[in-house]
Each structure stands twice: as structure tokens, then as C-alpha cells.
């Protein structure tokens, strides 16, 4: 698989009014998460 296509699966569970579970599944590109982490790291470095 092309590394650019790799994604992380994210789950968000909510409980409906009648008590039933509902789960949202989202797929986020790994590269987007890497960029976000790098961005956060860069910001921290600047703040430091």
C-alpha cells in the first residue's frame, strides 16, 4: 500500500436517548496526523 494512503481509524461512541450505542468511524491520513504533531511540536519549540 502506498504510505500516503495509510490512515488511522478513529471511533467516537455516543449513547442515544434510548440507551443504544452509536459509533462514528472516521479515517484520518497518517500524514495529516504527522503534520499536526509536527505542527504542535514546532509550536512548543517556539514557545519554549
Amino acid at each position: 500500500m502506498d504510505p500516503k494512503e495509510k490512515t488511522i481509524m478513529q471511533k467516537e461512541t455516543v449513547i442515544k436517548d434510548d440507551g443504544r450505542r452509536l459509533i462514528y468511524y472516521r479515517f484520518v491520513p497518517e500524514t495529516a496526523l504527522d503534520d499536526a504533531l509536527r505542527g504542535a511540536g514546532g509550536m512548543l519549540a517556539e514557545e519554549g
Binding site: 500500500m1 481509524m9 471511533k11 455516543v14 443504544r20 452509536l22 468511524y25 479515517f27
Partner: protein
């Protein structure tokens, strides 16, 4: 309400689920209960304006995580027990007028990851012995909602068809030391006439013993027991093969072909089941564009299927349909 009643003659549980009589039946497209909820619109099952995939517990379940006590008393001959389990609905797309065959290989690959997650999460519950993933598609199958979706039943026991398959596998394994499904695949590949399509990791074929004219089984070529064991590449090939088969089905008669799609894999009961081999079975009811295969007297009363066609010819017909992925 809902309960399990034992049939001592067939040696199988029957589920009574009387509340399902009231479930939503063929709503108009603009009143679909599983579309995303639109601003100012009526609230659907999904309280969001968009989503990739959504899983939720069925509003009209046959099994319940915390089931009520049976409505009748059992006896030694007629045992009853609570219908414990989980019934989930898996939404494939926020778009109402689409099918799984229309989704990209990447989207189907992601759906397989959702299926895998549900298999792992529900299978880890001590009361769940079998996670059964399936899709009923089309009015001919009795589908009551057209929005593209599949289902999942997490059983607190091994359903009879699965139990029988496990027994055959175990007997073959005891006799030969080999996986029954791997041997079936070897024989099918040696013959070759019933193979519909294959790629590096997955093969699709009309089995030698097909009960429906266009029945197709998808197998992992290597001995994988469940979705969990798929590598990224094998899963991608599985997605590609699912789409290939569904596209071929849609190319048969010029309309989106109804089918039942079911997955057989390793039980989650913690016991050893030698010879388990992950596979998917498709049962389309059409035997021609306008004629359906019914489960009539012989099938329902004697348990013997009459297939009006030759699997070798139907496989050739499906093989000849070119598809765009």
C-alpha cells in the same frame, strides 16, 4: 418481546422477536431513518449531517445485550432462554441512492476495517460466541430500508449452519490433518472451471456444490481464520474482489442485483476450532433477470436445494463480464 425457544427435533434455537413486526417498512426516500439528519429536518438514527461510516444498535433487535426474561416458561423438552446478543446496523455511506458496489476500493477497504473492529470488540465479550456479519440487499431479499447498509448479529451461541460447518471442518482435520477449505480451494483451482476472478490474496468462485445459480464464495487464498489476520495488502485485495464480484453481479442483467452476503470466520467462544477458514458467501436470489429462486418445499421441508443451473456455466457467465473498478 424476544426469547430463544429450543426445537428438540431440529436441535436448534428459534428466536421469537415480536416487536420486529412494527419495524420501519419501505419508507419514502425523503423520510429515510438512516440518512444523516439534515438541519431543520426530521431526526434520523444518525444525529449528524455527515459521516463516513456509522454503526448503531438496531432499534428492533432480535438479540439484546440485556435481554428480558422469556415471556413463556420452558420445560425439559422445550427449553427457553433469554435472547442475549447484539444486533448492529452498519451504514456504508451517507448517500441514500448508492450501493456498496458503487463505493471505491479505498472505501470498501475502510469498511473492512470497521467490520474487523466490530468483530474484535463484540467477540471479546464473554457472552458472545459468534460474530456474524452480513448484508441483505434488495426488495427480493425482504430488505425494508434501501439506504446502503449491512448488519451484524453477535450470537451467544453457535448458529446451526455455522456449527455444522465447524463440525465438517473438525472431522476433515482429524482425518487428514488439513484444512477442509484449503483442500476445497486446491480442488477448485486444479479444475479451474468455476473460478470467477482472483488476485494475489483472494479468489472468487461458484462452488462445485452451489445452491443458488449465481452463488459466489470469496476465499482468502492463504489460511486466514478471521478478518483480524488480514495484512494491509490482503485486505486491499479482499476489498478489490468484493467490488469485482458486486460489479459483475450488477453487469449480469442491467440492474443492481439483490443478494445476501454472509461472512464465516473463527468463533469467539474461546474454544479450539481446527480448520476454520475465513470466507464470504453471496447468495443472489435471481436465476434469471425476471425469475427468482424460491426456498420451496424441497429446500424448506427436506433441506435439499435444487439448483436449476450448472455452476460451471454460471461461473463462465460471471467471468466473461468485464468490470471497471
Amino acid at each position: 418481546m424476544s426469547e430463544l425457544r429450543w426445537n428438540p427435533i431440529a436441535e436448534e434455537w428459534v428466536v421469537t422477536a415480536t416487536h420486529r413486526q412494527d419495524r420501519t417498512f419501505m419508507p419514502p426516500a425523503d423520510y429515510c431513518p438512516i440518512c444523516p439528519t439534515q438541519p431543520g429536518g426530521f431526526p434520523t438514527e444518525v444525529p449528524a449531517t455527515d459521516y463516513e461510516f456509522v454503526v448503531f444498535e438496531n432499534k428492533f433487535p432480535s438479540f439484546h445485550p440485556d435481554p428480558p426474561e422469556p415471556a413463556v416458561s420452558g420445560s425439559a423438552l422445550f427449553p427457553v432462554r433469554p435472547a442475549q446478543g447484539v444486533c448492529e446496523v452498519i451504514l456504508y455511506s451517507p448517500q441514500h441512492d448508492t450501493t456498496l458496489a458503487d463505493r471505491s476500493i479505498t472505501e470498501i477497504d475502510r469498511l473492512i476495517r470497521v467490520w474487523t473492529d466490530r468483530y474484535v470488540e463484540l467477540g471479546s465479550r464473554p457472552e458472545i460466541d459468534y460474530v456474524f456479519i452480513f448484508e441483505n440487499k434488495g426488495e427480493a431479499i425482504g430488505v425494508t430500508l434501501h439506504h446502503p447498509h449491512g448488519q451484524l448479529y453477535a450470537f451467544s451461541y453457535l448458529p446451526p449452519k455455522i456449527a455444522r460447518e465447524l463440525e465438517s471442518q473438525a472431522k476433515h482435520f482429524d482425518r487428514t490433518g488439513r484444512c477442509l477449505h484449503c483442500d476445497v480451494l486446491d480442488e477448485e483451482r486444479r479444475d479451474g472451471r468455476r473460478i470467477v476472478a482472483e488476485n494475489e490474496h483472494v479468489i472468487a468462485l461458484v462452488p462445485f456444490y452451489a445452491r443458488y445459480p449465481y452463488e459466489v464464495h470469496l476465499y482468502a487464498k492463504s489460511h486466514l481464520t478471521s478478518l483480524v489476520e488480514f495484512s494491509d495488502d490482503a485486505r486491499r485485495d479482499f476489498a478489490r474482489m468484493l467490488k469485482t464480484v458486486m460489479r459483475k453481479y450488477d453487469g449480469l442483467f442491467g440492474f443492481s442485483l439483490p443478494y445476501m452476503m454472509v461472512m464465516h470466520q473463527q468463533p469467539t467462544d474461546g474454544l479450539d476450532h481446527p480448520g476454520c477458514h475465513f470466507h464470504v458467501e453471496f447468495y443472489p436470489p435471481n436465476r434469471t433477470a425476471t425469475k427468482l429462486k424460491y426456498l420451496a418445499g424441497c429446500e424448506s421441508g427436506a433441506g435439499t436445494f435444487i439448483n436449476d443451473t450448472l455452476p460451471e456455466e454460471k461461473a463462465a457467465e460471471l467471468r466473461a463480464i468485464a468490470v471497471q473498478l
